[in-house]
């Protein structure tokens, strides 16, 4: 008997195909891993399996029975439960009430008996071995306790199939061990898991079967024991489909532009040392919890470090100050272009020239003509598809919006360019334009820091540093293979380049 069987699932969101005729079969009582790089379609599949979204075609069955209609939440909850990365606990209510949310009247009558609710909650929690006070306010729980409560809630509905969506991402080592211990004992009791994780060693530790998705397609399903780590990584990355090859720029100069010394930020990273020379392109790769984005944000002044210094061209930058970073010769593309990248409703010219408004006119005024001239040049350089510099940025496609953000970063002729996920959600052609712009800037002597886990972004780098859990775990000179880099990112020790 299979806990769940999904076949021929296809799902489109507008133009993008999120799932392309995929299938997955999870046998009763096994712990089944689902892996794939960002955008492989894992989250979309989870939303289908939990009844939050309907596939365009294909069918899903639970233990041989067809999936209930989407509107029947009750029926779905008896079949499958999911512990999402985002909490589904209501922080202002007690643990007991969260366990029985929207079914607090346990005896079926209209009136809630709080003493009975608390008692039953206590019984359930101890039945599943969750040592949490049912009267505690849910906001006071740790991430680990919160997950346990969510698992207990899932089980209390009678669901025997539980999806864990990157449950270890926010847990520390001992907590992960405890979670695995609990998963093993629940598996012995007949509970089936679909386990999603970016950390491949966890899959070898806890799962029996693994399914790999890549680019919205099913690649392979295999017993974990039959698969080597390299084969797994290969399945995830596929053939190298790179845009460019290695860097073809002149050798970087000796002069150092960026100097980062023992930089530390809270729980994100610590003890980071980093130097980038004039004309050098350095990549930083790592998973979402590696601290790479936070490092970039500290360098450009979006966050204030707890310790350490950032110096550009030999001058220390005031910590946590974006104006100081800009004045010191830093240009940057922030991670979230919608939040920090551009101002919708303003024109391309205005957005692209924010950092240099002081140079566009006298006494704080802005010369429209000079601004348009600067913008025209950028539009040409970056091949921005637009009707002209006065077009509203909000009307552009994602790729062209990102080019405007890049234009803004380049507008001040920075000596250091920091790019965070510069090609996220950008089509292939725009990606090429963006990477060309990086190449040109480096050739002209700009030091570039590329923070990304897109291999295409990292390929033109002179060297790539891999961060893992807040420190630099390895360094790869240009010419690395996809497998060794991905292994290092996913935290498989053997091939990280020490």
């Amino acid at each position: 008997m299979n806990a769940v069987e999904a076949s021929n699932i296809t799902k489109r969101f507008g133009q993008t195909v999120a799932l392309n005729d995929v299938h997955i079969t999870v046998a009763d009582g096994e712990t089944h891993a689902l892996v794939g790089r960002n955008g492989a379609g894992k989250s979309t599949l989870v939303s289908m399996l939990t009844g939050l979204n309907r596939p365009d075609s294909g069918q899903i069955t639970f233990r041989g029975e067809p999936a209930p209609p989407l509107s029947d939440r009750e029926a779905w909850r008896t079949k499958v439960a999911c512990v999402y990365q985002k909490s589904t606990i209501i922080p202002t209510l007690t643990v007991a009430e969260n366990l029985f949310i929207n079914r607090q009247n346990l005896d079926g009558g209209p009136v809630i008996s709080w003493s009975r609710l608390r008692r039953t909650a206590g019984e359930k929690l101890s039945e599943y071995g969750v040592d949490v006070d049912p009267n505690a306010e849910a906001a006071t729980l740790t991430v680990e306790q919160r997950q346990l409560v969510e698992i207990a809630r899932a089980l209390s509905f009678g669901a025997k199939f539980i999806i864990l969506d990157e449950p270890t991402a926010q847990l520390d080592g001992p907590a992960i061990e405890r979670l695995f211990e609990r998963m093993r004992s629940l598996r012995d009791a007949g509970v089936t898991f679909l386990f999603i994780s970016h950390h491949l060693q966890e899959i070898f530790e806890i799962c029996q079967t693994v399914t790999v998705f890549r680019d919205a397609r099913h690649i392979v399903t295999s017993p974990v024991a039959d698969l080597s780590r390299n084969q797994l990584v290969e399945a995830m990355t596929g053939e190298a489909v790179g845009l460019g090859t290695g860097p073809t720029r002149p050798e970087p100069a000796q002069e150092s532009i960026l100097d980062v010394r023992s930089l530390a930020l809270d729980k994100h990273f610590s003890g980071i040392d980093l130097s980038i020379r004039k004309g050098e392109v350095v990549g930083i790769a790592g998973s979402g919890s590696s601290g790479k984005v936070e490092l970039g944000e500290v360098i450009v002044g979006l966050r204030k470090p707890d310790a350490g210094t950032v110096a550009v061209s030999g001058k220390a930058l005031k910590p946590g100050s974006v104006p100081a970073a800009l004045a010191g010769g830093v240009g940057f593309v922030p991670e979230d272009r919608h939040k920090e990248g551009f101002v919708p409703g303003m024109s391309i010219a205005e957005n692209a020239t924010f950092p240099i408004t002081g140079r566009l006119g006298r006494f704080g005024s802005i010369s429209g003509r000079r601004r348009a001239a600067v913008a025209e040049k950028m539009i040409g350089d970056l091949a921005i598809k637009t009707s002209g510099p006065d077009q509203d940025v909000a009307d552009l496609s994602g790729g062209n919006q990102q080019k405007v953000v890049m234009a803004r970063a380049l507008s001040s002729d920075p000596s250091l360019l920091v790019l965070m996920d510069p090609t996220a959600g950008v089509d292939v052609k725009s990606k090429e334009n963006l990477l060309d712009a990086v190449d040109r800037a480096a050739t002209a002597g700009t030091a570039v820091l590329v923070i990304s886990d897109e291999l295409d972004d990292l390929r033109p780098c002179d060297r790539v540093l891999v961060m893992f859990h807040g420190s630099v775990a390895g360094e790869f000179p240009a010419g690395w293979t996809d497998n060794e880099l991905v292994s290092a990112i996913e935290g498989i020790g053997e091939s990280s380049g020490e």
Partner: protein, 334 residues
């Protein structure tokens, strides 16, 4: 399964902060009673205290409505205009044109139903704008506040409306049941019903779930849009009912009835521990907040504070009380 329990340090409940917060205003109320007793011998008489409750009954219903809206995670500023508009609309529809009415000649008994219906309508419009069109609740209900007040001004040409022959609208505000003003009974009864509803019924609890984490509430099968719509309508109806009670209480509807009340309504709710971020606070706390504001007002009057300074003193006391509540609960006010 329990045999494998690897213990996870349980979160020690911090002495049930939530529960303490509900009662946080009781000491303050006791202090006020003592201060009032010192200020004036009349203060601590049954008649005066009942008078305080009656004075606060109309604001109390508005606070009840606002507290429900806040708990579900929204805001409704338009309640203060509904307070004047709903009874005014009822009166212009019934009154002859000689008494500033529209002369439509609706029968007298329709006044109260029309008044409450106006509440339903305003609540429904608010819900449509905020939930369906996804507009910001704060600014939209501020817009509604101004619009509704303007419509009232337009309909009544800025006049106060009164009638000597409209018992349906005047009854609730000046009737006496079992020797006590009907408005006091209504105030207490509605609060008790609401407290029981949000405390002991699944649908009542869903207000807290929605306000606390709407996505999670949806995932738990709660029809969040429907519940929020009902709450917004109930709040407007409560404001309309309070407006009707004011007509009986004061004998007329002025063009500015309810003007400026929304500040007191928010102050009472927040004083009582209701969070502006939703999902937190109790209706009992909100009720204590209303009564506290009433006691302050009453004491200031009895102590013969210069009426020109009443507003300043009243406002300062509210701010002081909020600071005190922040300090005693030790948590940031949200």
């Amino acid at each position: 399964m329990s045999d494998v329990s690897t213990p996870v340090a349980a979160a020690r409940p911090r002495l049930q902060v939530a529960k303490l917060r509900d009662l946080a205003l009781l000491p303050a109320i006791l202090v006020l009673l003592v201060v009032g007793f010192i200020a004036s011998p009349i203060f601590l008489t049954g008649g005066n205290l009942l008078n305080v409750v009656q004075q606060q009954s109309e604001l109390g219903l508005v606070v009840l409505g606002e507290a429900l809206v806040l708990i579900v995670g929204k805001m409704d500023l338009s309640l203060e205009s509904t307070l004047g508009f709903a009874p005014a609309l009822a009166m212009v529809l019934v009154l002859p044109s000689s008494e500033h009415g529209l002369g439509l000649g609706l029968p007298e008994w329709t006044a109260l139903p029309v008044c409450l219906l106006a509440g339903v309508l305003i609540g429904a419009v608010n819900a449509f704008l905020v939930l369906r069109l996804q507009l910001s609740g704060f600014i939209i209900t501020l817009g509604m506040l101004i619009t509704i007040r303007g419509v009232q001004q337009g309909l009544t040409v800025g006049q106060s409306l009164s009638s000597t022959n409209m018992p349906s609208l005047y009854y609730l505000g000046n009737a006496t049941w079992f020797g006590v003003h009907a408005s006091i009974w209504i105030f207490l009864a509605l609060f008790v019903i609401a407290i029981v509803f949000v405390g002991y019924f699944r649908h009542g609890r869903s207000l807290y779930a929605i306000g606390g984490n709407e996505a999670a509430a949806k995932a738990a099968g709660i029809r969040t849009t429907r519940v929020t719509t009902v709450v917004l309508i109930v709040a407007s109806v409560l404001a309309a009912l309070a407006g009707a009670m004011m007509v009986g209480h004061y004998g007329n509807v002025t063009a500015s009835q309810g003007s400026g009340w929304i500040f007191n309504a928010f102050a009472a709710a927040v004083l009582g521990g209701v969070s502006l971020n939703g999902g937190k606070g109790t209706l009992f706390g909100a009720m204590c907040g209303v009564l506290m504001l009433g006691l302050v007002q009453n004491i200031l009057t009895l102590a013969h504070v210069n009426p020109y300074w009443l507003g300043a003193v009243n406002g300062a006391i509210i701010i002081g009380a909020l600071v005190l509540a922040r300090l005693t609960t030790g948590k940031a006010q949200d």
